[in-house]
Structures are given as C-alpha cells and as structure tokens.
C-alpha cells in the first residue's frame, strides 16, 4: 500500500467541525428531557495510605457530602498496584465504626466508669498533671553532680501510627519537657 502524502494523524478531534446530533434526524426529545432532569452529585477522591503494615499501600478514599463512602486500593501505587489485603479491604469499616471513641473520656481516681468531658477541660487538666509531675520530679543534677535536666517519672509510649510530622513534634515536646522514657512499637 502506498503511503499517502497527506498526514493521516488527526481524526475529527476537538476543534474539527462536528455534526450535532440534532442534525442527524434522531428524536432527541426524551434524551434531552432525561438529561435536564438528571440529578448529579459531586464526589471527591483523596489519596490516602492504609494504616496497617509498613507496605503503606496507597488508597483512594471517596467522599460525598464530607462522608467517606468507599476506600479502594490506589492502582497507581507501584508497590500494591491497587491491591489491598483483607485488613486493608476493611478500612471503610475501621473509619466508620461504632466502637470508636468520639469524645474525650475521663476516669477519676477510684472511679468505676468513664465520663465524657470537654476538650478544653481535658487539655487543661492534663497540662496541670504534666506540670505537677515535672515540677515535683525534675532532676537537674545526677548523683555525680552532672547537669542532666531530666524528668524520669513521666513517659510516652507510641506511636508508629503517628505521621512523620506528629513524630517530629512529639519528640520535640518530650525532650523539651525533659522526658527520657520514650519508646514505641519499633522496640516490641
């Protein structure tokens, strides 16, 4: 077959004159009516990451009206290719789950139950406990008289569930307070 001198490269693409359907003689009335009455909703898709193992499978979370409606594996994550294991596949249930705690809870000394508290009260109370502990137990010098600036009686455990940003801040905060007992799942 001879090669045409013409460049057969672009078929009727955008910008080329198109024949409107109406000019083809098709009865478009019903279709137009249907389209006009069609209710659409806007959904958002967000790339997120499965919070189980450190494969960190990327996910696509679909959200409608601010509510998560589905979680699927992101096919463009080279590691998973969109796959999710059984636990990852249960992510929607993990997010939308009636077992989750949704308000700060407080258990008073000697109490047999939890009570709901406001965030502001809770934060203030925790800050007070931290300060009491720190002011009471802060060690400026060790037995050999060396400057040590440490607080041994307060600790933090966790968490590998934290984002890098949360870890960075958490570490900064703890060293600022003088905490030496800090540890997380990397050690167990």
């Amino acid at each position: 077959m001879s090669v045409s001198r013409r460049g057969f490269i672009k078929l009727l693409g955008a910008g080329t004159a198109c024949l409107g359907l109406s000019k083809l003689g098709i009865d478009l009335g019903p279709a137009q009516a249907y389209a006009a009455g069609l209710k659409t909703e806007g959904c958002k898709e967000f790339v997120s990451i499965c919070p189980f193992c450190a494969c960190c499978c990327n996910t696509i979370i679909s959200v409608r009206d601010g509510k998560i409606i589905s979680v699927e594996g992101d096919p463009d994550y080279p590691v998973s290719g969109g796959g999710l294991c059984a636990k990852g596949a249960a992510l929607l249930t993990m997010h939308v789950n009636k077992h989750r705690i949704t308000k700060p809870l407080y258990r008073a000394p000697g109490s047999t139950k939890w009570v709901e508290k406001e965030w502001s009260w809770t934060i203030d109370r925790i800050a007070r406990k931290i300060k009491e502990t720190r002011d009471h137990d802060f060690i400026t010098k060790d037995a050999k008289g060396r400057q040590v600036n440490r607080l041994e009686s307060m600790f933090q455990l966790g968490s590998s569930q934290m984002d890098n940003e949360e870890c960075a801040l958490s570490h900064q905060m703890l060293r600022g307070l003088g905490v030496v007992h800090m540890d997380h799942q990397a050690r167990i």
Binding site: S4, L19, E41, I60, L84
Partner: protein, 305 residues
C-alpha cells in the same frame, strides 16, 4: 504499558448488542439514540475486524524517546501518521453508508449522494480519506459537516485496526502522558478496569484508569486522581460528577481548568460494555457536566445534542 484485560478493537458484536440492550432497558429515554447509533457501531466493529492492520515493517521505535513522551506515529520517519486506507474505502462505504442512511434520516439524502460520488469515482478515495482527517473536500450536494462525519466514520475502523498493531509494539513500555501513545490525540473517554497481572497473589480489586483515544480508540493507563488536561493532582481541584442512580458512570472534572472526561467504572461489572455504547449512554451525564461549566477534553464523533 499495562494493557487492559479486554483489548479494545477485538470487540465482539455480542458486547455491543448486550450493551445496547442493557442501556435501552435502563435508560429508555436514550432508546432512539441507541437505535440509531447501535447499527453503526456494529457495522464499524465488523469492518474493523476485517480491516488490514499495519502493513510492512514495524516502525523503528526509540524506547527512551517513547518513555519521554514521543508517541509512536511521531517517531516515524516522515511523520505522515496512519497508513493510507483509501483503497478499502469504496467497499467500506458500501457497508457503512446504507447503515447510516437508515440511522440518520435527516442526512440520508446527502449520504446517498456521497455513496454515489464514491461509487462513480467522482470523489477520489484519497480525498475521502483526507476528509475523514479533517481536510476540506467538496462534494456537491453534500454538506461539509455531513461529509466530514461520514468520512471519519469510514476511516475510523481502519485507523483503529492499525492502532491495535502499533499499540502492541509499545505494550511493555511505560507511557505516562495524557495523549495517545499511538497517535498523540486526546482522549474522549476513560474507563476504570479490573486489571490482572501474572502474579498469583494479591491483585487489584479494580479501578485502574485507562484513557481512550478519540481518534484511534487505543487505551492506555493513566493515573487516578489527576486531571489529564492540566495535570492537577490536588484533590480539592478535582470532582467526580455522578448520578446516584448510575454510580458507575462518572464525569471526572477539574475545577482548575474546567474540563472533564467521561469515565466508566467497570470495577465490579460482570459484562463490560462496548465503550462506544457506554459513552453514548453517558450523554445525559455529559450534558450535565457541560451545563455545570466544564468542557470535554475531546469531543465524541456524534458531537452535541
């Protein structure tokens, strides 16, 4: 490149017929449209099946350039594009034009004149092919738009068939562009598919996005949550429009550049419909997207209402 599990261009008529029947049942308002275009799609599919593929030696491809975004046809020596199919167009016209005459009564007369011009040789076949590619060609008694529409429908099966062969050349090479890896044209449709790889372990549940070329119907993988027009990946700039009654039909829109592309989510489908039929069935959604101020990335052959 990753190939979709269902190869485009190896369409079974069954897929078209099933899709037409299902669509007509589910959206009765579209019945006249489906009835008009269905036979055209079927006839085109048959033509494509019997069309010659890429002839002669395969173009020499530089894998490095390809992965950098230089599509197959752009790498050819003279850059002519698809091979000339005009020799086959007379026969194609005999098959396709009568179907179109039946389907599109308003342009029947023009199409008949066109048939005659082709049969008599008044319209050289090479000119006919050129008309399919947007060149202005005059045929007395046939409007320019009608001629362009008919001609492009005539060459389309041959283009698609050639593209199948060219796409096969690059199936193992990565292609990350929003334009077609074969001919460089823009996509007018996209689809989310279940893909399977050779691994006998965890596989994707679905949702790999493929764009489909408006010119040659090639499909290629393209990343989700990103706008193929402007590249926006900020989730706040992207929006999926859907009708709650047909959640598998989406218009993936970008609020940054105000474009959209239709998308069929086949992730949990048993029968994956023919994509021409699917796109036609999504016309109402497309109109909604346009009404909301978004422009399509590329237009469908049937244009607008």
């Amino acid at each position: 490149m990753t190939s979709p599990s269902t190869q485009p261009g190896s369409p079974s008529l069954r897929a078209i017929e099933t899709a037409l029947a299902r669509a007509a049942t589910e959206v009765p308002a579209l019945a006249p449209l489906l009835a008009a275009f269905g036979p055209l799609f079927a006839a085109r599919a048959e033509l494509r099946a019997s069309a010659p593929g890429w002839s002669g030696p395969a173009p020499a491809l530089d894998a490095e350039r390809f992965t950098q975004g230089v599509f197959v046809l752009a790498q050819m020596e003279h850059g002519q594009g698809f091979q000339d199919m005009s020799a086959h167009l007379a026969q194609a016209a005999q098959t396709l034009l009568p179907v179109m005459v039946q389907s599109f009564p308003a342009v029947a007369q023009e199409l008949n004149i066109l048939s005659e011009a082709i049969a008599s040789g008044a319209l050289p076949l090479e000119d006919l092919a050129a008309a399919g590619f947007g060149e202005t060609v005059q045929v007395p008694g046939v409007g320019a738009e009608t001629l362009a529409f008919a001609a492009s429908e005539l060459v389309r099966p041959f283009v698609e068939r050639q593209a199948q062969d060219l796409l096969a050349l690059v199936k193992d090479l990565p292609w990350r562009q929003a334009l077609c890896p074969v001919c460089g044209n823009a996509p007018d449709m996209s689809v989310l598919r279940r893909t399977s790889d050779s691994s006998e372990f965890i596989q994707a549940h679905g949702g790999q996005r493929f764009l489909r070329c408006s010119c040659c119907a090639s499909e290629w993988a393209y990343k989700r949550v990103s706008c193929p027009t402007c590249g926006c990946e900020d989730p706040d700039g992207l929006m999926v429009l859907r009708a709650p009654i047909r959640l598998f039909e989406r218009a993936d829109a970008c609020t940054r550049c105000n474009t959209f592309i239709l998308c069929l989510d086949t992730g949990e489908m048993v029968d994956i419909p023919d994509l021409d039929v699917a796109a036609l069935t999504m016309l109402p959604l497309e109109l909604q997207a346009k009404a909301q101020g978004y422009a399509p990335l590329a237009r469908h052959p049937w244009g607008d209402l």
